[in-house]
Amino acid sequence: MTRAAWMDRAFHALGLAVLAVALSALMFLLADVWRDGASRLSWAFVTGYPSRQASTAGLLPAVAGSLWLVVLAAAMAMPVGVGAAIALEEYAGRRRWARLVEINIANLAAVPSIIYGLLGLGLFVQALQLERTLIAGAATLALLMLPVVILTAREALKAVPLAQREAALALGSTKWQTIWHHVLPTAMPGLLTGLILAVSRVIGETAPLIVIGALTYVPFVPDGPSSPFTALPIQIFAWISRPGTAFRANAAAAILLLLGVLLVTNGIAIGVRDRAARRRVA
């Protein structure tokens, strides 16, 4: 065997080994959580309300709260984020301030989420007097999503072929018509991918919600954006911090459910993305 071929095999093996390490850590985590919580997973658990008894406590308010949060946050972050990406990518050009904004957005994506929580507390909860409601929580999470949405949306817009823009412009489309009729539909799969990434990031967020004051004991399902709320990660956090193993089993079961919800939302989003992509090609 030549040296090059040997090196090739060695790198292949190294790659597989690294992948195995990463996967086994994940598998171990999953197995551990599964062992602790699988027995607690039941329909009654998912549709039940919190209780002081671990064996009768349920998750419904937390599940509903998380879904409310994610949907509201996505509804706020998507138009603002895509709009910002259009402004930067299509209108700002290469000017110095646009570059400056670009760098700052990249930085924002790396800011710890608890900082966003403090911002949400100061801005939404106090200054705008939204109180400790779903809408304040969702707005905070939307801020957290924005950098990811903007960055991925810019890439999606950049990837739209110049030939398509030129075709539209040469027919006498205005810049806005070109963007609205051609660039956005073509970029849609990429935009949705960005949304998936952003949703995955915030659905497990705990710190910012604790800072803005999500409750840990909510015996009702939120009835609207101005309702107080809890969310899955907060419920998990609350259960883990209680003494005794019974609540820890509940927490493990809630983690399994959170992973399940994540899987379902991602699955739906990927399905939507693929359908959008197929429609454009067909």
Binding site: G93, R94, P161, A163, Q164, R165, E166, A167, A168, L169, A170, L171, G172, S173, T174, Q177, H181, H182, P185, T186, R280, V281, A282
Partner: protein, 254 residues
């Protein structure tokens, strides 16, 4: 040449991309209802010249224009020019066919819709008219609602021509419209050009000398951003005034 009023008048037109001059002080008339061919080696500025006529160079960053282009006696480079309106008068067909990822019908109807045509019957009529004018109607009339990207390459290019014709431009710019097509599809495009020049003023960029000779009335030879010679196609090919032109059209370089 006979003194026919020029549809388009280029006056000392220069185009720069950053510091590079892609076109240097080109002055020439483009007459109505004639086919003007732009020939020359790659990078000589043919496409730049073509794209100056509907201001498509505007979308290229760091591009800059000097001199002037007049269309029907009005400068298209003046700040008051409505670029969107200009592009509706000066249509364009690109080197690589670029139909929108929508149906055949919607491709042609798009230009009408953004021009405020709402009446469904009128749209349908003008779509058919345009597809007939682009000699593709018989091939697509049964699949108007099929995706345009399922058509063959030659059909896609004729669809793009139909799309450009639908908004009834006065000038049609064609950037090597047949360079990606097989000989049969190329021949159909050439026949189409000859038919269209009765209605439109056509400027075509081509790498194919025989094509220029076959379809054009006037030929302009560009070399390194400069207009070397322009005149009746017959003269340029059989009795060029410049040695550079002669060398190029006889295939000694390029």
């Amino acid at each position: 040449m006979e003194p026919v009023a020029a549809k388009i008048d280029l006056r000392a037109l220069s185009v720069f991309y950053g510091e590079t001059a892609a076109l240097r002080e080109v002055t020439m008339p483009v007459r109505a209802q004639q086919v003007t061919a732009l020939i020359g080696p790659s990078g000589c500025g043919k496409t730049t010249l073509l794209r100056a006529l509907n201001r498509m160079n505007d979308i290229i960053p760091h591009s800059r224009v000097e001199g002037d282009v007049w269309l029907d006696g009005h400068s298209i480079l003046s700040p008051s020019t409505d670029v969107v309106a200009l592009r509706r008068r000066v249509g364009m067909v690109f080197q690589k066919s670029n139909p929108f990822p929508m149906s055949v019908f919607d491709n042609v109807a798009y230009g009408l819709r953004i021009n405020g045509v709402r009446d469904r019957r009128e749209i349908a009529e003008r779509v058919e008219e345009s597809l007939r004018a682009a000699a593709i109607w018989s091939e697509v009339q049964d699949r108007l609602h099929a995706p345009a990207l399922t058509l063959s390459g030659g059909q896609q290019q004729r669809l793009c021509i139909a799309r450009a014709l639908a908004i009834q431009p006065e000038v049609l710019l064609m950037d090597e419209p047949a360079s990606a097509l097989d000989p049969i599809a190329t021949q159909r495009i050439e026949e189409l050009i000859l038919a269209l020049k009765r209605t439109y003023t056509i400027v075509i960029v081509t790498h194919n000398m025989q094509q220029a000779a076959r379809v054009s009335d006037v030929t302009a030879f560009l070399w390194m951003g400069q207009l070397i010679e322009q005149g009746r196609t017959e003269d340029v090919f059989t009795a060029p005034r410049e040695r550079l032109t002669e060398a190029y059209v006889t295939g000694r370089f390029g």
